[in-house]
């Protein structure tokens, strides 16, 4: 073990700090030899190093954590989460989350604080009271069963209220008219249909802010899960059937959307953008989309090919950041559902080879 040796690889403890390493090497130089394994000197030295290493390790860990925290805060990258809610659904979920956390802290903090204390106070040969036969106390039983029961009762009330209020199928409370969108999950992209406007888009869910968004979902392939973290709830999209989701955005903005149910090699790339716009901007966008070419059978066939949005754009010769369609077959959503439930697997869906 020489001076050039990386501290990470030195015995006896991991990791050994620079200070600890220097002490160990001074000891080596002083005694000319390593203390014998199993000897009291060696044990004491190793114990001291363990403690000093642990302290150094904790310091290093704190440094690392503060660096990354600073990175997060100062880097300016916005991190989307229901904890930074951009809509009424996520906002209510955040409130509920902190309520549950606070209630659970009542249960958890006593354990976290008392356990180390118990281990220390009642250590062997520590001189504390010792009652080897004490195994029951009616008072404690009532407290131990009753305490958690009360907490769970409170949580149950919160659960019932929030679950019924945040039912994905329940329309949002609002005076404004909702916008109806139909979402079809493919491998590995989302098709958003606007049946009332006669337009469609791929991987771009544009909608007006401050108005409820009503989404009916299905999958043209396997089980998928539609999720926009900044706006709130997710819901599964499954073949041959439809599910519903109601969301809203408080203000215009761009939000990351994703599929959270694994569906193959392109799963990690099945992201989309949910863009909340001012009413006027949204109308402009819809008018622009209506000028694009229609969603015809060729386009539908291309959608069914495995690939992400950019693959689709290439196949349809469209700009990859904006795949829009200005015309839909009637009842396309219902057709997709029916076909997924009825059609045998098309040849191109079967992987070649084994």
């Amino acid at each position: 073990m020489g001076t050039g040796f990386s501290p990470l690889f030195s015995a006896p403890c991991f990791p050994l700090s620079h200070a600890g390493m220097r002490r160990y090497q001074l000891h080596l130089k002083g005694s000319g030899d390593r203390p014998k394994a199993g000897s009291k000197e060696r044990c004491e030295l190793e114990a001291a190093h363990c403690v000093s290493s642990a302290v150094q390790y904790a310091k290093w860990l704190c440094q690392w954590l503060s660096v990354t925290a600073a990175f997060l805060l100062l880097s300016g990258c916005r991190v989307e989460s229901f904890l930074d809610p951009q809509g009424p659904v996520a906002a209510q979920q955040r409130t509920h989350f902190w309520q549950v956390t606070a209630l659970m802290a009542l249960v958890v903090l006593p354990v976290l604080t008392l356990t180390p204390w118990l281990l220390w106070r009642y250590r062997d040969r520590g001189g504390a009271d010792y009652e080897p036969r004490w195994g029951f106390s009616r008072g404690w039983e009532i407290a131990l069963w009753g305490g958690p029961a009360l907490v769970v009762a409170a949580l149950a009330v919160l659960l019932w209220v929030n679950t019924t209020r945040l039912d994905p199928y329940a329309p949002l409370a609002s005076d404004a008219n909702s916008l109806r969108v139909q979402a079809v999950g493919y491998d590995w992209k989302w098709l958003f249909l606007y049946p009332d406007l006669g337009i469609a888009s791929v991987d771009l869910l544009a909608f007006p802010a401050r108005r409820p968004l009503e989404i009916e979902l299905t999958s043209a392939t396997v089980m998928q899960s539609f999720f926009v973290p900044a706006l709130g709830s997710q819901v599964y999209a499954m073949g041959g059937m439809s599910t519903w989701l109601h969301l809203g955005a408080d203000a215009p903005g761009r939000f990351r959307g994703e599929n959270s149910q694994y569906n193959g090699e392109g799963f990690h790339m099945q992201k989309f953008e949910a863009v909340a716009m001012d009413e006027a901007a949204f109308e402009g966008w819809a008018r622009n989309a209506a000028t694009a070419s229609a969603l015809d059978t060729a386009a539908l066939d291309a959608l069914e090919q495995k690939g992400v949005a950019s693959d689709l754009a290439y196949a349809l010769d469209r700009p990859s950041d904006e795949i829009l369609f200005g015309g839909l077959p009637d009842d396309l959503f219902a057709q997709v559902m029916a076909e997924t439930a009825k059609a045998p697997m098309a040849p191109h869906d079967m992987a070649a080879g084994r």
């Binding site: 009642y122 080897p132 069963w145 958690p148 392939t221 499954m238 799963f267 992201k271």
Partner: protein
């Protein structure tokens, strides 16, 4: 038909492209080479390990001993040890897979080195192995070894069935190992949801590997559950009523009931998926009237009780460890037993919480959410009862207690996040994210794994007759705790930030610090596993310094500590008469321990049997044949299995008698050695002076 044609037909759909290096060799590019090297490396390690083992056994002429003393043995202790050894081997593989995935995610911003297909197989094998081939064998092995000793029995109720259960589990593990060489494995996760795992979306052999490996394992587990339940009901020593059983046996009983009732939905669900895949049925397909939601319900009807199967034995271990290493009676025995029963019953009423987002009505979700939270009550009671056991005890921080301490603090955090997930409204924003992954690892690692490692440290001396070395054991325990925290607490953050699970790469730079910290944690966990290996090597090398022939190195409270270490084949020379809880502590305190029995009787023990190994090999052959469409192999395996069982029905000579004189001689010489061995107080527990003879903690003089 030509010879080549015959061979081709016999090999089914097995072809050169099944080999892990085939893609790399035939279509070389950066991605295929990197992934091919990793996959081939893993397969190479497996093949090399197998060859080295075969060579070592041959060189030291151990095949005979292996067959006679281990593989054909019906001794519950040997079978238990073999289960635990299987668990450790599979733990090594699954940890390696986890490390590769962690490394990929640490460099996964915008890409990484691992292909999505490879990553898909990794998370599927990691989950499948950890649950079915690490956790289940580990806990089954511990229950197998400990429970009959604790109830004062000579063996389990059905020793041959015990051997068959082990063989089926090992066959499933072998199938998963074989998938390293004859690829690919499933990419559908350990839950195997259709329609992704149907032929239309996964036409390769992957899901078939998964189906048959899980089927073999689930059959083995169902049989083991029946065995344990009957043993506990019928084989307790005279005087040991149910409420005098050690807590570990209560948890073993509830686990057995769960195994019996929870495994069948899994066997059914996977069989139905197999019918879909092999015979074109439409149980779970999109088409033909199938419904994937049915699979979700059936799978989780198994899946939720399964996680309680995983955790309850660990709870039992903690009860034993905490009371023994505090030198104190377990607080709240009746509450703990009742809480265990409550947890077991409630575990069947909560399965919908695994798919709150599948479109059920709010009231249905809410009912299941409240049921899920109800399980938190008995679990909380257990944690507080263990803390009250520490209270006014004399706590020794031996290796099992370090695991227990880590468990107490970390598990409640996992329980709190479980309550978060139990609320459907919150589950809607955390389902399928890393928050969920962090939660269940938080329950399984500090809960199950620490419990099993504590059990390993605690009962190793009883199994092998010498203690484990303490320093490496402490390093392992502390590294596991620190490694777990660093590897999984960042995942809570990532989940709250919306990062999905099972995702090979990501595009949010903000995720990177978290994945990097998690990688450090994974490194620590690997180090911890290395410490366990080092501990075992050192302990074996220095075993003469740590022998505990008297058999009570921890000042134990239950019957298993009253017999020699290593435990004799017949467990108890004379079946004990039990009058209280903690019978051995009572005997020690009243000076009744280590008395010569008045009378010895002949002992009837089962003869060895080859049925177990035969069923194992046959089961593997059948499963492998089914996976690769080698119908001749599948049918032969099935027929061999059936034939072996039928042949056993005609066996007459299945027991051997150990004469009373032999038992007397062995037992009396051990008792003479005990009387000549000095007793030690607890602070000398980790010194060479500890030969397994204890002064009971309550009688120790302490200033």
């Amino acid at each position: 038909m030509t010879l080549a044609g015959l061979l081709d037909a016999a090999l089914g759909r097995l072809d050169w492209n099944a080999l892990p290096f085939w893609e790399m060799v035939t279509h070389p590019n950066a991605s295929s080479i990197i992934n091919g090297l990793i996959a081939s490396g893993a397969a190479g390690i497996m093949v090399l390990g197998t060859l080295v083992t075969i060579w070592a056994l041959t060189r030291h002429r151990l095949w005979g001993m292996l067959w006679r003393d281990w593989l054909t043995s019906l001794d519950h202790k040997k079978i238990g040890i073999m289960y635990v050894m299987l668990a450790f081997v599979m733990l090594a593989r699954a940890l390696a897979e986890a490390s590769v995935m962690r490394t990929q995610q640490a460099v996964g911003l915008g890409g990484g080195f691992l292909s999505p297909e490879h990553f898909g197989q990794l998370f599927s094998t990691h989950g499948t192995i950890m649950i079915f081939f690490m956790a289940m064998p580990f806990l089954t092995g511990v229950i197998n070894f400990v429970m009959p000793l604790q109830i004062g029995a000579r063996d389990v109720a059905f020793p041959l069935l015990n051997s068959v259960s082990l063989a089926l589990t090992a066959a499933g593990a072998a199938l998963v190992m074989a998938s390293l060489l004859f690829t690919p494995f499933s990419t559908g996760g350990w839950s195997g949801y259709p329609p992704f795992t149907e032929t239309g979306y996964s036409p390769d052999v992957g899901p078939d590997y998964w189906i048959w490996a899980v089927t073999l394992s689930s059959l083995g587990t169902t049989l083991a559950g029946m065995n344990f339940a009957v043993t506990i009901y019928k084989k307790r020593a005279p005087g040991m009523t149910m409420f005098r059983m050690p807590l570990f046996c209560w948890t073993a009983l509830c686990v057995s009931i769960l195994m019996i009732f929870a495994m069948p939905p899994l066997t059914l669900a996977t069989s139905m998926l197999a019918l879909d895949r092999y015979l074109g049925f439409h149980f779970f397909t999109n088409t033909g009237g199938g419904d994937p939601m049915l699979y979700a319900n059936m799978f989780w009807l198994f899946g939720h009780p399964e996680v309680y199967i995983l955790i309850l034995p660990a709870f039992g271990v903690y009860s034993e460890v905490i009371s023994t290493l505090s030198g104190k009676k377990l607080y709240g025995y009746t509450s703990l037993a009742l809480a265990t029963i409550c947890i077991a019953v409630l575990s069947f009423t909560v399965w919908v919480h695994h798919f709150f987002t599948m479109g059920q009505s709010a009231s249905l979700n809410a009912v299941f959410g409240i049921a899920t939270m109800l399980i938190g009550i008995p679990t909380g009671v257990k944690v507080y009862d263990w803390m009250l056991t520490l209270y006014r005890g004399r706590v020794r921080l031996g290796v099992p207690m370090i695991y227990a301490a880590g468990f107490l603090m970390l598990f409640v955090i996992g329980g709190a996040t479980g309550i978060v997930l139990a609320n459907p409204s919150l589950d809607y924003v955390t389902h399928n994210t890393l928050f969920l992954v962090a939660h269940f690892h938080n329950m399984l690692i500090p809960g199950l794994l620490f419990g099993m490692l504590a059990a390993y440290a605690f009962w190793f001396p009883k199994a092998f007759g010498f203690r484990l070395e303490e320093k490496w054991g402490r390093r392992a325990a502390v590294s596991w705790i620190a490694g777990f925290i660093l590897a999984f607490f960042p995942l809570y953050g990532l989940g709250l930030l919306g990062m999905p699970r099972r995702t090979v790469a990501f595009f949010e730079p903000a995720y990177l610090p978290f994945t990097l910290i998690a990688l450090v944690g994974a490194g620590l966990v690997l180090f911890a596993f290395g410490c366990l290996v080092a501990q075992l090597v050192v302990s074996i090398r220095e075993r003469d310094d740590r022998r505990v022939p008297v058999g009570d190195p921890w000042d134990g409270r239950s019957l298993e500590w009253s017999i020699p270490a290593p435990a004799p084949e017949w467990n108890f020379a004379v079946l004990p008469q039990v009058e209280t809880r903690d019978p051995f502590t009572e005997a020690k305190e009243q000076g009744r321990a280590y008395r010569s029995p008045e009378d010895y009787e002949d002992i009837e023990m089962p003869r060895n049997s080859a049925i177990g190994p035969i069923v194992g090999v046959a089961g593997f052959a059948c499963a492998f044949g089914l996976v690769w469409y080698m119908w001749w192999l599948a049918i032969s395996g099935a027929l061999l299995s059936l034939g072996a069982m039928l042949a056993r029905g005609f066996a007459r000579d299945t027991v051997r008698i150990i004469p009373a004189a032999e038992v007397r001689e062995a037992h009396e010489s051990w008792l003479a050695m005990v009387r000549a061995t000095p007793r030690i107080p607890r602070h000398e527990e980790n010194t060479p002076a500890n030969l397994g003879h204890a002064i009971p903690a309550s009688q120790e003089e302490q200033s």
